[in-house]
């Protein structure tokens, strides 16, 4: 069966090559049926890669321990849930997962674009197939998932597998990588559309409409994947942190930052025909950062707690990146005259200006994160010392950047195009501005001394107030005409322009997340060595150790502490943090006990025992729940923005009605 899988991948490789050739030749030589066969080739590739992936998944679920990949990443005792997740638990499987997702995206792109963007389709297919071929090369010739175990040329089967690391046997393992991959892989499609528009010198801006939609969906997946990773770290790792600027975390953030910048700057191109060159650069950068992120997590060039094996795929990624970037630079430079700006910047206080600074600050942060992540590699090249930068360095940069961006989300949407009048500024910003100053004053009077938290919370109020006012004023305008209630008016308002009001909801989600992040300086940390019957305090909480127990199951040995929690005398229930030691893999995990409320989380970790005493790490994290709530609002807002607006919007400003030949003679 492994042979069928390997053959399917090989065929997929050949047919992808055909897809490129037939699409390009069919387009250039004007042979529509040849180009059509290219479209069908893409669908055939999907069928073949699905067959290969299906065989791998089947082998994982049924425990075919003849296959090296199955033996390395599953064992008999694992639940089916995690056996399925083992598909992306190791390098070969995860690269096949990449290929499968790309083939699926390509198929969807072909099926949805056939009618409206026929002229771009052959180039889109050619570009996606180039990327597909790169990953199929890895799947076929460098890291095959279908290798079998053999001893002296005889195929043998292991009695049982090694199993997935217990740290990964957490429900988030089944969804965090797939969402991230959906994001990483997905940016290939808008990139392909952008390059196609460039190659075919497509006039007008209609390609932006479809590109933007794809980018929004992909961005949604990427955002969800990143936040799932953060939530996983918080709930599982035992030290209550949700982001540590680890290289693999940073790798997932880089395309997100560039993608966010692109989503905003593309609006400039739609409305005003500006930043055309910049948008081409941005979408390419987003795509190449995805490839770079995939490379970073597999090559081992930087040390990370997310340990993948040092793999031989590194040089291939570097070659692909080099060729791709060179090709894109050449293409953009060659087509520069088709990317001339139609308008100019006029005022510092304008919508264009706010998009410009939005992009500047997002790209600056992208560069900063990239620089910090690669610093060990860079410093080794230039100074023989390998130096790494700690989380404090990242925070020192990213906190002010984040706060400036937060301010911009309040200012930008309310600035007018070209120039904002003073009257407009007063109307839109008076209430939010005064309100935020009151909030800041109240916090300072109330005793808060952390400047970043004060600034963050007052900016949060500012942005939230601008958004609420927008909804309020818009809904009232509709109510006056239609006489409907307030909530139906809000829904009607949103439905008429889902892009704008969905976007406001996304911004609101970011505001809520920032409120959550503002609680960080107020975290409390305590370490207790306790016996049964001891009582300890942290913050307002009193913890009484009712019992220290231990036990044994088939899978693992465990130790736990039963703690009775009360606050200012009022009993709140029991929390039981525990520690497990998995016998098969000799791996231990902490089962954190968490009491999560809107105002703060009480977080207890069982760290171990010394003799009769158990060590409990206790933490109080204020406002952390707001982070997860904000992420949900962000996701909801993006979904709203994806709903088609009730009122169709026309984006094209220039319409090509024909071409005229002009003879120019030069006077001597």
């Amino acid at each position: 069966m492994e042979n069928i899988g390997a053959l399917a991948l090989l065929l997929a490789f050949c047919i992808s090559l055909y897809a490129i050739v037939s699409s390009v030749v069919g387009k250039l030589k004007n042979k529509p049926f040849l180009a059509l066969s290219g479209e069908r080739a893409v669908l055939a590739v999907w069928l073949l890669v699905t067959t290969a992936a299906g065989i791998l998944v089947y082998s994982l679920m049924t425990g075919n321990f003849q296959m090296a990949y199955v033996a390395s990443h599953t064992n008999r005792d694992m639940t089916l849930f995690y056996k399925f997740a083992a598909w992306w638990g190791g390098m070969e499987g995860s690269l096949l997962f990449w290929s499968w997702l790309l083939a699926t995206y390509a198929g969807v792109a072909v099926l949805t674009t056939r009618k409206n963007y026929r002229n771009l389709l052959p180039w889109v297919i050619a570009i996606i197939s180039c990327v597909q071929i790169f990953f199929l090369i890895l799947n076929n010739f460098v890291a095959s998932p279908f290798q079998v175990l053999a001893q002296d040329q005889v195929i043998v089967s292991a009695a049982d597998g090694q199993g997935l690391n217990p740290l990964l046997q957490y429900w988030a393992m089944v969804i965090h990588p797939p969402f991230l991959y959906l994001g990483y892989v997905g940016f290939t499609v808008p990139f392909a559309f952008a390059m196609s528009a460039l190659i075919s010198k497509a006039p007008g801006e209609s390609w932006i409409h479809t590109t933007r939609r794809w980018t929004l969906v992909t961005w949604l997946f990427q955002s969800t994947g990143v936040m799932l990773g953060s939530a996983w770290a918080y709930h599982v790792l035992g030290w209550g942190g949700y982001w540590m600027w680890d290289p693999v975390e940073n790798a997932s953030l880089l395309p997100w930052l560039a993608g966010t910048a692109f989503l905003h700057s593309v609006m400039m191109q739609e409305k005003k025909g500006m930043m055309k060159v910049w948008n081409m650069v941005l979408i390419s950068a987003t795509f190449f950062l995805c490839i770079f992120g995939t490379f970073l997590t597999r090559s081992g060039i930087v040390q990370s707690v997310h340990a993948f094996a040092d793999s031989p795929t590194g040089p291939y990624f570097v070659a692909f990146l080099a060729l791709g970037i060179a090709g894109v630079i050449w293409l953009i430079l060659d087509r520069l005259k088709f990317l001339r700006s139609e308008n100019e910047l006029e005022s510092l206080v304008s919508r264009e200006s706010s998009f410009l600074f939005n992009n500047l600050i997002l790209l600056a942060s992208c560069f900063a994160v990239l620089w910090g992540t690669l610093f060990p590699v860079i410093s080794e090249k230039f100074s023989t010392e390998k130096i790494s930068l700690d989380a404090a360095w990242f925070n020192r940069l990213m906190v002010p950047i984040g706060l400036f961006l937060l301010l911009l989300t309040g200012l930008g949407p309310l600035f007018a195009w070209r120039r904002t009048s003073i009257a407009s500024i007063r109307k839109n910003f008076q209430i939010p501005g005064i309100g935020s100053l009151i909030v800041a004053a109240a916090l300072i009077i109330g005793g808060m001394r952390y400047p970043y938290s004060i600034i963050s919370l007052s900016f949060c109020f500012f942005v939230a107030a601008t958004i609420v006012l927008e909804f309020f004023r818009g809904a009232n305008a509709i109510r006056e005409k239609s006489g409907a209630g307030f909530l139906p008016s809000v829904i009607e308002l949103t439905h008429r322009n889902t892009r704008r009001y969905g976007g406001y909801l996304v911004h609101m989600g970011i505001v809520i997340m920032f409120i959550g992040y503002s609680g960080h300086p107020f975290n409390l940390t305590e370490k207790f060595d306790v016996n049964k019957g001891d009582t300890v305090k942290i913050g307002h909480y009193t913890l009484r150790v009712n019992g220290l127990t231990e036990g044994d199951t088939a899978n693992y040995a465990w130790e736990a502490a039963q703690l009775e929690v009360s606050k200012d005398g009022e009993p709140l229930g029991m929390l039981e943090p525990s520690h497990r030691f998995y016998k098969a893999s000799q791996q231990s995990t902490s089962e954190v006990a968490l009491r999560s409320r809107l105002n703060e989380d009480l977080y207890l970790n069982y760290a171990g025992h010394e003799g009769d005493k158990a060590t409990i790490d206790a933490y109080v994290f204020p406002l952390v729940s707001w982070i997860w709530i904000g992420a949900l609002v962000l996701i909801g807002g993006t979904l709203v923005a994806l709903i088609p607006s009730k009122v169709a919007r026309s984006y094209a400003r220039t319409e090509v009605i024909g071409t005229v030949r002009k003879d120019v003679s030069v006077e001597a």
Binding site: L149, W239, Q587, A607
Partner: protein, 149 residues
């Protein structure tokens, strides 16, 4: 182009502040990656610099005492005694045989005082390409004996 001077100025201020934030105090954020042999070659300089030392945790060397965790890192034939004095709980991957990264300073007592520990799963989880992981290799040899070839 003089009408763009306001934009240029604001951009310069923003980028300038970021560069300043990045470089001010960078020395307190820097850690030098060292192997144990490089650490030994540093001599007393190891006591003044912020270092990250990598190695494998020697089996049965982990001792927890008075809130400090002591263990030995080995690399090839060299060994380094480490004392972890940080507040955060040790990662779950921290156990005999794991690859570990200790972040801190060398003390005059010859013990490396670490403030932060990172640990990765032991390399048996990540076999070299073309080879089966160790535990599978043993099983495979076992089943070969069963086949009696």
């Amino acid at each position: 182009m003089h009408k763009y001077w306001k934009f240029g100025a604001l951009m310069a201020v923003i980028v300038g502040s970021l560069v300043w934030l990045a470089t001010a105090g960078i020395s307190s954020s820097q850690s030098y990656y060292k192997t144990i042999s490089e650490l030994n070659q540093m001599g007393t300089a190891a006591q003044t610099h912020h270092l990250r030392v990598s190695g494998d945790i020697k089996p049965k060397s982990i001792v927890k005492q008075d809130g400090i965790v002591k263990f030995t890192l080995v690399q090839d034939k060299l060994a380094l005694n480490v004392a972890y004095e940080g507040r955060d709980p040790l990662p779950d991957t921290f156990k005999d045989g794991s690859q570990a990264l200790a972040d801190g300073r060398m003390g005059p007592d010859g013990i490396f005082h670490a403030q932060e520990i990172q640990a990765k799963c032991a390399s048996k989880y990540a076999p070299k390409p073309g080879m089966a992981p160790d535990s599978i290799q043993k099983q495979v040899q076992g089943s070969k004996a069963a086949y009696g070839s």
